[in-house]
Symmetry: C2
Subunit: 308 residues, 2 copies
């Protein structure tokens, strides 16, 4: 059993108040895969250029990520240069060079086509739909997107969402996509467009899960130091999808636990640059942090009455 | 048993995207008292001018709030004029006329002096300290403040905090007061200054409780419509202090429940202007919303292992 992820593999140059790195492994598919690899087999589809370092390939192979679908094209790898100030919730992008990613056309290898879980990371919604046409009736499809596609390809995105079960976006994107300021109204609109679950990422404020049945509010881990938040959203999606695939259980109770595992992986992601922390975790550390989230949110039911 | 609250009683003129009201009952002590009155007897100390309408006095009396300490002075009542856009987390102040509040010197009536719980709402920290000198060894003292005092009276505030058990402020104030950007570092600093508990209010993102032992993250209620957030912070403090006084229990478990009752009262507060919603609640509604918060945050512990 496995998860197919289609997204970007990039070389990131990142500056935060705590340091700087040049051309490190980045991209939505890299973060997603590394996080999800603790829970499930991963089939990755992305594109890199001739300059993509072998060490990154080895790192992903070391996490047992299937790279059959990693296309290597003439030209340079997608590069992103960004910086964070002390408000680590928001990156300032200095440059984005799509390079080989600009002409990326996802080709799903035959041995990936029966993947029961599919994560469509943030790429052109027309390509996301094309991926769904190549796979054989997956059990669960989740999708991420961004303001660029909401602004430029709103109709294609609406069409793709009709075939998606779980939409994972951030708060501003949910508002932008629906033109609804109130989150609850935005959530109701999005749930009427196709997905039966909506996950709203709120950075250092945690995440919300909306279904037609209920709302679940998950906190963010209170971190000693957010070293680099790049990839936190994709690491979240990796922990979330990974746990669901691991248990093959999409009851409300299981989805809530999956949201917490997403939050767990996002918190580890922020502890170092690139996938440095994410790639060398133990199961003990992951389960321990899950329990810390319980401790962070638990409160007792009322026993007496407050009436007086 | 009772709570002494010292703060402002004001006449507010407020505009939100949903409507506008003129000279309605406002002020920290009004919101706090109304919310806390469901849980505890309230002794209020504040000042109003000759123009203060009898209907507001009657409303507070109707909630059994003791108004012995409500001074009536020559002049006009404190007036605030403000407006909210769609981001209801932040008010734009059009005018603040302190009027009689400018020369407010809290006088604690004799029958208030044994109040076991004291809430020092947002006033000059020198006056807050003076209040503590007038009362007889309270069991629990909580304090709120704002950027104005942090900028202008930082030293007096530090001195007053030495005598405070629970500090209740918002996220930006915690950072400003400690000059620490990271919330956890700010929290540790504040807990070293006197209080054994720190409550950080985060508006529509909920609240955090820090003690030397642990951290608790409480969500905000996901509201259909935030009608007017004015007074939400003081309503929160009212529900929080009220529940603690109601149960006379300051164990960690009880403080966590108190944070939820604070969140419950803040959510009701936002459903209408002034104390309109807050002043006509039933215990059934309050307890029902507490249970909704449980539903909003509950997730199951791990039963199996994620190892594979």
């Amino acid at each position: 059993m496995s998860i197919l992820v289609v997204g970007s593999v990039a070389l990131d140059t990142v500056k935060t108040p705590f340091g700087q790195v040049i051309d490190v492994l980045g991209g939505s598919a890299s973060y997603f895969s590394t996080a999800a690899s603790y829970f499930s087999d991963i089939n990755l589809v992305a594109v890199v250029g001739e300059d993509f370092p072998d060490e990154h390939v080895e790192l992903m192979k070391g996490r047992n990520i299937d790279l059959t679908g990693l296309q290597r094209m003439p030209g340079k790898t997608f590069r992103w240069v960004g910086e964070y100030g002390y408000d680590l919730n928001e990156a300032r992008t200095h440059s984005t060079c799509l390079n080989v990613f600009e002409s990326f056309r996802p080709h799903i290898p035959d041995n990936y086509k029966d993947s029961p879980y599919v994560f469509l990371a943030n790429i052109d919604p027309e390509l996301q739909l094309d991926v769904l046409k190549q796979v054989n009736d997956p059990e669960l499809v989740a999708l991420d997107t961004m303001n660029f596609w909401i602004e430029g390809k709103a109709e294609a995105l609406r069409e793709t969402l009709r075939h998606v079960n779980v939409l994972i976006i951030n708060e501003a994107e949910a508002r932008q996509l629906t033109q609804e300021y109130h989150l609850l109204h935005a959530a109701r609109a999005l749930l009427s467009w196709g997905p039966w679950a909506l996950v709203i990422k709120r950075g250092s404020y945690g995440a919300l899960l909306f279904t037609s049945e209920s709302i679940f509010s998950a906190p963010a881990y209170i971190m000693d130091k957010v070293f680099d938040p790049t990839g936190a959203g994709d690491s979240f999606a990796g922990g979330f999808m990974g746990y669901l695939e691991n248990t093959h259980n999409t009851t409300e109770a299981s989805i809530r636990q999956a949201i917490i595992f997403g939050s767990v992986m996002a918190s580890f992601n922020c502890e170092n640059f690139s996938v440095q922390r994410l790639s060398n975790l133990t199961y003990q550390e992951i389960e321990q942090r899950f329990r810390e989230f319980r401790q962070l949110t638990h409160f007792d039911d009322l026993t007496g009455s407050i009436r007086r």
